[in-house]
């Protein structure tokens, strides 16, 4: 599957192309994904073993309709029940699962739906992840916003009424270092009630620093928990180190962050196993850090610039819905975010069942909020997008649509204490 993602840009030098092809074709020239790079902190944690043991023994073919029915009848959902709900045997029970999920969502979140927006401040990246638009071999317009430009973007977003922001960068510590991101967080605290981060994984002391700068929530996508597949998709750069990424949420919590978010990029590997792993990652960290807030996302692959072959593959909306319902029934207290990768119709439907948070007014490009929000062409350079979004509703439209569905849109439920 991974080979269909490879695209050679005509802009690459001969040496770069050679290096790229070598990484793609010769596994022996790639580094060991389990080996930490210099400077990467290793924490003492048993969470990874617990999660991976559960995944290893997950044989979803063995579950039957009887297991699924039993799982739906149990008052609290055990790990075994959850596995049954993720299995193919549960597919015919989607409606029952949705109705149970809706009940659980209502118990814990009422009819509220939180709205936030992401802000990409830089798209430089040192990694070669073959499915990502920001990958270092992809010929795109690269950009890193200055602090002044960040402030301009934030003003435009804040003016729309948004109160929660998620700051993102490509994964380049050289181009977007921790202090640069820290300054962006400080700036964000002036304009927003809640600041989250989705950046390259860092050490505990860096998370502590970013927390002091105003970030309170850290999102790291593991992409896939299948290490063999991970190795074939993340061919170069620090992201290649799988266990360092796995422990990122725990380091963030150790550093005092209030909450952490998790996800696998569904469709990269066996999505049922990745869904199980993501949820078990949450489950075990929650047991270890019961005070922490946790949330799950559920992105599927999307087409990227220069490569439209990248698509969700075997994860169809029905399967995605099954996973989200299973997440909700197993982990009724966690937030579930559904991104603008999904269509407006899907998002409208899923917020009534399981999702509690959606993005609006989204751009995955760099420095283009004014043109996108206000239709102004500033003539300035902008940076290209990480992936194509599907639902491009503005905050105003999203707010109206959610209200119309009989749900309550919420812009902030957060307090820095």
């Amino acid at each position: 599957m991974e080979n269909q993602f490879f695209v050679d840009s005509e802009h690459l030098s001969k040496e770069a192309l050679e290096k790229k092809h070598q990484l793609e074709n010769d596994p022996s020239c790639r580094s060991n994904p389990m080996e930490y790079m210099p400077g990467m902190e290793k924490i003492d944690s048993d969470v990874c073993d617990k999660v991976m043991n559960e995944v290893k023994s997950f044989d979803y073919i063995k579950y039957t309709a009887k297991d699924v029915r039993a799982a739906l009848q149990h008052e609290s959902c055990s790990v075994e029940d959850f596995k049954a709900l993720l299995s193919p045997a549960a597919e015919p029970f989607l409606e029952e699962m949705a109705s149970r999920a809706r009940l659980e969502t209502g118990k814990h979140f009422g009819n509220t739906v939180y709205i936030f927006t992401p802000l990409y401040i830089a798209n430089y990246c040192e990694n070669y992840c073959v499915y990502c638009g920001f990958n270092r071999y992809n010929h795109i317009s690269r950009m890193k916003l200055t602090l002044e430009q960040i402030e301009e973007e934030m003003k435009v977003i804040a003016k729309s009424g948004m109160e929660e922001i998620l700051i993102l960068t490509g994964e380049s510590r050289a181009q977007s270092d921790v202090s640069y991101i820290g300054e962006a967080c400080r700036m964000a605290r002036k304009y927003f009630r809640m600041v989250g981060l989705e950046i390259y994984p860092v050490n505990t002391e860096d998370y502590r620093y970013l927390h002091e700068c105003g970030a309170d929530y850290v999102t790291v996508f593991q992409e896939t928990y299948d290490i063999e597949k991970y190795e074939k998709l993340h061919l170069a750069g620090h992201k290649r180190v799988w266990p360092y990424r796995f422990d990122a949420q725990e380091r963030a919590l150790m550093a005092g962050m209030r909450g952490v978010a998790f996800s696998a990029l569904l469709g990269l590997s066996d999505f049922r196993k990745d869904a199980l792993a993501s949820a078990m990652h949450v489950y075990h960290l929650q047991r270890k850090y019961p005070h922490a807030e946790m949330s799950l996302s559920c992105p599927r692959l999307r087409p990227i610039i220069n490569n439209d072959k990248i698509n969700p593959l075997d994860v169809h909306e029905k399967q995605l819905c099954q996973i989200l319902c299973a997440y909700r029934i197993f982990l009724p207290f966690v937030g579930i975010t559904v991104s603008s990768r999904e269509s407006a119709e899907f998002r409208n439907g899923i917020v009534k069942i399981a999702a509690t948070k959606v993005s609006a007014g989204v751009s995955t490009g760099i420095g283009d909020h004014e043109s996108k929000y206000e239709g102004k062409d500033s003539g300035d350079k902008t940076g290209d997008e990480q992936f194509e979004i599907n639902d491009n509703r503005s905050l105003k439209k999203m707010y109206g649509d959610i209200s119309e569905e009989g749900l309550q849109p919420v812009l902030n439920d957060y307090l820095y204490v």
Partner: protein, 254 residues
């Protein structure tokens, strides 16, 4: 008149609207149909620019009961309470301190600490607590205006899972005992009132009802009925232990 006294305020109603699942319709039903005179409000939720700020929905004659949800320690709860005062939410505060995001169970130890600090600063403190008699006594000594034991986990609609322990608090504590969390049906509210609870706090039970105003009315009547039964003194069918027709002490001669 049979009134509920909290701090230096008196209330006719013994129904308090809890926080969490808000809507304009819910607040309307709670005030108009359930007769609520106190409405809880999460300070973290009021901390918004949003056009539909919950503070704007609450009628002026209703007493706000801001809560400290989101606090994980006494220190954080104190900070939130002070912010609430700054936001103009008054002197009432419901302390909620949770170190568990899964069950949202209150941390009794931290709650005692926060109660003491805030009571000393002139707040009318209503602590949400796990029904433990020793803790309730500590809360009394710390200056609480009432104690608010949970009936069952928040949002569970499971009723009085902690019934025996709430009864002990009612029997032993001289402050109003307000049953908070878990009350899912009017009959459960009525039962708690018969036991001698001073008031009921509920949210999910109303918020998730099919007909909100009708459910609000049902809660009002159930709470009033329970209160009347308590004041009337329950008949012997409900007293503990059996009574025999021949007096057990009939042998006593002088």
């Amino acid at each position: 008149m049979d009134k509920l006294t909290l701090g230096n305020k008196e209330f006719e109603s013994r129904f308090i609207l809890g926080s969490g699942k808000y809507s304009l319709k819910l607040i309307e039903a709670a005030v108009k149909d359930a007769g609520a005179e106190i409405i809880t409000l999460a300070v973290r939720r009021a901390n918004t620019q949003e056009k539909e700020n919950i503070l704007d929905f609450v009628p002026k004659n209703v007493t706000l009961l801001p809560n400290t949800s989101g606090a994980r320690t006494a220190e954080e709860a104190v900070r939130i309470a002070k912010l609430s005062r700054e936001l103009g939410c008054g002197d009432f505060v419901k302390i909620e301190i949770m170190r568990d995001t899964k069950y949202l169970l209150p941390d009794n130890q931290e709650t005692i600490k926060a109660t003491e600090i805030l009571a000393n600063e002139g707040f009318v403190v209503l602590p949400y607590m796990y029904p433990d008699l020793n803790v309730a006594r500590d809360l009394v000594n710390a200056g609480a205006a009432a104690v608010m034991p949970l009936g069952a986990p928040i949002g569970s609609n499971k009723g009085l899972a902690t019934k025996e322990f709430i009864q002990i608090l009612i029997d032993e504590i001289e402050l109003p005992v307000i049953v908070d969390a878990g009350v899912g049906k009017p009959s459960q509210a009525c039962e708690a009132m018969e036991m001698g609870a001073a008031a009921i706090m509920a949210n999910t039970a109303l918020a998730t009802a099919g007909d909100l105003p009708l459910m609000a009315k049902a809660f009002r009547q159930a709470i009033e009925a329970g209160r009347k039964a308590y004041l009337a003194g329950l008949g012997r069918v409900l007293t503990r232990g059996a009574s025999s027709s021949d007096p057990l002490t009939g042998f006593l001669r002088d």
